[in-house]
Symmetry: C2
Subunit: 229 residues, 2 copies
């Protein structure tokens, strides 16, 4: 009984240090980027000793890896749950609605800002990944995203079967860009709109981004038709 309580406290101390480092790192990486965030900034914010990073995570790259891995899993799980529900509703071979598929992909990351306090920095961090990650870290990210990328590509094909593989690739790339830019530079939207649009309203963002991406993808479907002439 007494020992049990003490064991829990020990676990909490270790978890506390690691969690504080991860939380501080996630926030600072999101705000300033990976390379320009120093370990001393992270440890100062986490109120731990500099060497704790090396003790718990070996080096900075492994810390970045840990920051990425702890979010990608749950976000993608939520995406899969939403996709499961869509596919169940559509039946074995029934058509999927493109807007629903795109929503399933986007909602988990957009809502992370407000519905889950501990994940509020993730979207902005995600928006930075594509230009800032290199080498083995980019490979890790792509590897962890591969199942979701595969599933959503398949679902989009099912929703828009006349879209060519090439046009789908273009459209996916542009859509990822639109999303990433929104996530990383949402304040620019407030500037562009002269304060009339609130980038923090994630349901509005979802509605507009889904519409935009769906419209864009369908326009590329038209592209294919014209190319065939």
């Amino acid at each position: 009984m007494n020992q049990t309580i003490e064991t829990v406290d020990q676990g909490n101390r270790i978890q506390d240090t690691k969690e504080r480092i991860l939380d501080a790192a996630e926030r600072l990486f999101a705000e300033n980027g990976f390379a320009t965030t120093s370990l001393r900034q992270i440890t100062a914010e986490a109120q731990v000793n500099l060497a704790a990073v090396n003790y718990h995570f070996q080096n900075k790259e492994s810390l970045i890896r840990a920051v990425l891995s702890r979010r990608i899993g749950p976000i993608n799980q939520r995406r899969f749950d939403l996709m499961d529900a869509l596919e169940f509703s559509a039946g074995e071979d029934g058509p999927l609605v493109l807007e629903d598929v795109l929503s399933a992909f986007l909602l988990p990351v957009l809502e992370a800002r407000t519905s889950c306090p501990e994940m509020r920095h993730w979207p902005r961090l995600l928006g930075r990944l594509y230009t800032e990650l290199h080498g083995s870290l980019m490979e890790l990210f792509q590897r962890e995203m591969a199942p979701a990328a595969q599933r959503f590509t398949t679902a989009i094909r099912r929703a828009e079967p006349t879209l060519s593989p090439e046009s789908l690739a273009w459209g996916l790339h542009f859509g990822i860009g639109a999303m990433a830019h929104f996530l990383a530079a949402g304040e620019l939207l407030r500037f562009i709109s002269r304060g009339t649009v609130d980038p923090e309203d994630h349901m509005e963002a979802l509605k507009h981004l889904v519409a935009y991406m769906a419209g864009g993808l369908r326009a590329l479907r038209t592209e294919k038709k014209e190319a065939a002439q």
Copy 2:
């Protein structure tokens, strides 16, 4: 006569050093980002002395400023030339075609990769700006882009007059993101398409990006209609 030749040579020596620094900086910033590119990397590539950066540009921030300014002007001038031609063809109050307006915006930066050797690094650098620039440098970029932003916003409104200001803001933001992502991370497209799409083909990129953005914007126009119901 003899003095004239020597004056030219002197001018060329000064221009040579500055140009080499700017060229090297532009290439390295595009490849690695602003913060992570060191002055020693730049001067090594430019084969000049480290202190030359301070002599000619005072400090790193002013060098970044100079790198940006030397490209934005000519790119936007080309955009304006293309817009002038469109507006001339359309007549004083005739309608503009959304695809043409978007082309006028995108072509100068997309073609910079191949049609103008000295500008081949600009697109990738441009793709990085939105997540990497802060403070006074971001303000400079926005200030230099303001005339073009204004003109193209007006032209898009003229092409699609039923688009609400809010939806236009969303659409512009997403479009900038799609473009920036493509410019900064074009190789990802090769990966997504399993090698079937060549991101270096700028005429193909233009065609697909224009279609995507036009489709996206028009879908947001539909959004407005539904919101009114």
